[in-house]
Symmetry: C2
Subunit: 254 residues, 2 copies
């Protein structure tokens, strides 16, 4: 069966898109069939895999029933990795659905048709806990939380986990916490280590043992529209995301 | 008269809060009376100046008319710098005001009473272009755009400037573009230089000549609740924000 992983954190710039793109790519390299859904109106995950902004066949048109989901799935520069791009219209969902009682289940409904075609579906959410992210949490089997090793990022963790518990209790009982992933870990500063210690003490079983180091190559790869494996395959960023994919696959086959 | 500067960019993690806190502090050091308004429900700007999460006297209670604005102004660890903290309730504004025809002018109305008490009012917005940020743009005399020197951040700039033009045209004709501030500039990567060149060619007159370098001390200072000037006053982060304040004061006295 397909595993749907929602990548979310309302704090901005913590590495959600970088994780969505490179974890999806790493799983594809491990011969898993992967679909990446860009669920952020900014469209960063789409350009991170080399897909330019689309006008019509995006996840927005799928949600509102204007296009069939299969018309919006694009292949990427990596075998086994497909993507459904987003576009700016997606931001309108937050207003358009505000009075709809099924507002949190549009994405879940949209992907029902295709779930058994993939091993993994990865959903990249924007920096918010609004209707879009809640759709991601209601469609997901699990939540993966990228956590930047910096102070402001730590502040928002408890609110995110409260929202996770509410969604699990009232909307999506099967939603698990896949784990907390430390990102942009910088060995030059004690702060990264202090944050690692703090999170490990609060969530001993939920912290991924893989830690993503700060790496300039990870910031450069998106400007070429490539996952890290096509830009700097032997570097520390690629190695870390490969280890993350292995850890994820291992955890799911327990 | 007071100058109200709105700091906004829907891309997450580009340095909005770091700029709001440290620019406000630098202006305060230059003997300007400054009020920092934390307009992000995450509350990072509040903790960046050492104010813990407040339950009642936040900008939210001011907006809904439950508290008088003077009851919510707090002094900080820096002379001449006061702050109005935010709290989690602020996120509710996006839903509560959705049908209100004056929804974009609540902040403007709230700060009218106090504008002549300060030289500068600085508004820190969250990573969105929703009702909260639009309130910030409608209350502001100018928009300051922090732009991280990385690829994904560049993608969102045109959308932000489109929103700025719409607000100026339909809601707040006095809104100027204060400028684009390059943040987290890393001389080790060519990408930073390429982004600098690109932005300079498109907005030659709007790019601040001050550039904020990537600096570990800037990430560490918030964990002590201090602006950079109380944590690492001689470092490159403090110097850059001091130069920014000087450039801003110079520009405003032309
Ligand atoms: N491990 C890393 N090392 C260095 N830079 C990184 C790393 N991970 C991400 N980045 C860079 O940091 C910036 C923020 O990352 P990214 O855009 O993935 O975060 P995000 O959480 O998706 O942001 P948003 O909240 O806007 O959606 C990007 O420019 C990205 O290239
Ligand atoms: N010049 C800099 N050098 C190094 N780190 C920085 C710099 N500016 C900001 N940071 C760090 O980068 C992270 C993101 O910055 P910040 O939180 O100010 O961005 P933001 O735009 O306010 O984020 P959000 O979109 O969540 O509101 C923070 O951990 C901050 O400490
Ligand atoms: Mg993102
Ligand atoms: Mg912020």
């Amino acid at each position: 069966p397909t595993k749907v992983i929602c990548i979310a954190n309302q704090k901005g710039g913590v590495g959600k898109t970088t994780t969505a793109v490179n974890l999806s790519a790493a799983l594809a390299l491990k011969n898993k069939k992967v679909l990446l859904i860009d669920f952020d109106p900014q469209g960063n995950a789409s350009s991170g895999v080399g897909i330019d902004k689309v006008k019509e066949n995006s996840i927005y048109e799928v949600l509102i029933g204007k296009k069939d989901i299969n018309e919006c799935i694009r292949i990427t520069n990596l075998k086994n990795l497909s993507v459904i791009p987003s576009n700016e219209n997606l931001v309108g969902i937050e207003i358009e659905l505000v009075d709809d009682e099924n507002k949190y289940f549009y994405l879940k409904k949209a992907i029902k048709k295709i779930t058994n075609h993939y091993d993994y579906i990865v959903i990249d959410c924007g920096p918010s806990l609004g209707i879009l992210t809640l759709n991601g949490l209601c469609a997901g089997d699990s939540l993966l939380v990228p956590l930047q090793c910096e102070y402001y990022a730590l502040e928002g963790l408890s609110k995110l986990l409260k929202t996770y518990k509410l969604v699990k209790q009232y909307y999506n009982p099967k939603l698990d916490l896949e784990g907390i992933l430390l990102t942009m870990y910088d060995k030059r500063t004690k702060l990264s280590f202090l944050i690692y210690k703090e999170v490990r003490s609060i969530f001993p079983t939920k912290l991924f043992s893989t830690i993503i180091p700060r790496s300039i190559k990870l910031t450069e790869a998106p400007s070429f529209g490539k996952p890290i494996f096509l830009y700097d395959p032997k570097g520390k960023g690629a190695l870390a995301y490969l280890n993350l994919a292995k850890e994820l696959i291992r955890r799911n086959y327990k």
